[in-house]
Amino acid sequence: MADGKKLEKILVPLEVGRAGEHDIRIRWNDSSESIYIARKLRMECPCAHCVDETTGRRILKEPAIAMDVRPAAIEPVGRYGICIHWSDGHSTGIYTWEKLYGLAQR
């Protein structure tokens, strides 16, 4: 057996917190930090109601989302992401760490 080889370091957040009043700030374990504007993140919801499952096309229309939409609560999903309970009652999307990190790089 391998002599206690270290497992590869995976990119995960250290903290998912608040930025300003209702935006989200994520502190990553590579010591970077990303800020997510609440409404923009709501628009990125990856769930099957918001994105067509087979084509991957966004079904969600921008004007349908309230200007002041914000997270009401955020909870962890396994070890790989978060579920955001939005103020408009929507909560079916799982935002994986990869997705969140990718969004920040755009």
């Binding site: 057996m1 391998a2 002599d3 206690g4 080889k5 270290k6 497992l7 590869e8 995976i10 995960v12 957040p13 250290l14 903290e15 998912v16 917190g17 608040r18 989200i24 374990n29 997270p71 609560a73 955020i74 909870e75 962890p76 999903v77 396994g78 070890r79 790989y80 978060i82 799982i94 994986t96 760490w97 990869e98």
Partner: protein, 358 residues
Amino acid sequence: MATEQQVLDALRSVQDPDLHRDIVSLGFIQDMKIVGGDVSFAINLTTPACPVKDQLKAQAEEAVKKISGVKSVQIDMRAEVRSMAMPTGQFTIPGVKNIVPVGSGKGGVGKSTVAANLAVALAGTGARVGLMDADIYGPSIPTILGITEQPKPGQRGLIPPVAYGVKVISAGFFIKPDQAVIWRGPMLSKLVDEFLRNVEWGELDYLIIDLPPGTGDVQLTLCQRIPLTGAVIVSTPQDVALNVAEKAHIMFQQLKCATLGIIENMSYYICKHCGEREEIFSSGGAERAAAKWKVPVLGKIPLAKNIREASDNGRPIGLVEPGSPEAAAFAEIARNLAAQISIRNMQEQEEPLVKITF
């Protein structure tokens, strides 16, 4: 007369080879007493299945004896399994310290046999072990462990029957042999939820989960619902099995459940007439996969008639033929897995889980 400080300094020279730290800074030393030249203390390991228990004891004894004025050294070897990191705000099973799914990718590689024997071998070291048979389509744990007893209703949920020191719950307890499970996803998720939430597991060091083959609903639900210590992947040595095993590894990676290691089953066959070793399903596959995934090979199990017979008779090989190479293979895998769990938990301690402060 030796001082406590001198003894601790001497013990700092003893390294845990798996955790790569000395046993003092790991906090293993407890209850030190020094009376004249007689020194006594306890070494509290991270698992009763520690593969280097005797080595650590001998090294510690030698180190302390070198201090001038020390006449005798008494070491009490103990173990307390450390818990995986538990994120706040997520469901956990109270009292269960580590949850380890055993997956395979491909079916028919002997995953259930490995999971059952691994659980029994872990329990044999003195650890408190549970085994959840989540292979809903083909639950075989009750057969392999010879369980005829049904779970009993308890105060908060079902009380699992105990076989060879292992608390077992299985889909097989609830499905008649002449019934087939033809379920869609949500039903499968519901059963997993039941097994997690409504079983009185009690205090467990390790909960082993026998997964169905593949990368489907059961795996996904499990990874979403509860924090897992890490997964074990079982494969046979041939490429066709390993290619599918890799898909299981990738699934766990995507769900941020670490792969703790790979177990190679049906690794080789020893001819009982001539003693020649034959590699029926090829060889070196587990090493190649392990190198690619950067995980250890936890062990190799031979293709042997006595494992098949023991499993069909519902009596684990470790108890039927404790001196056999097959029993030794499972015991070694149990020790290696326990060591990897300790390493993983130590790393997690150093790198805390995500905090949600929104």
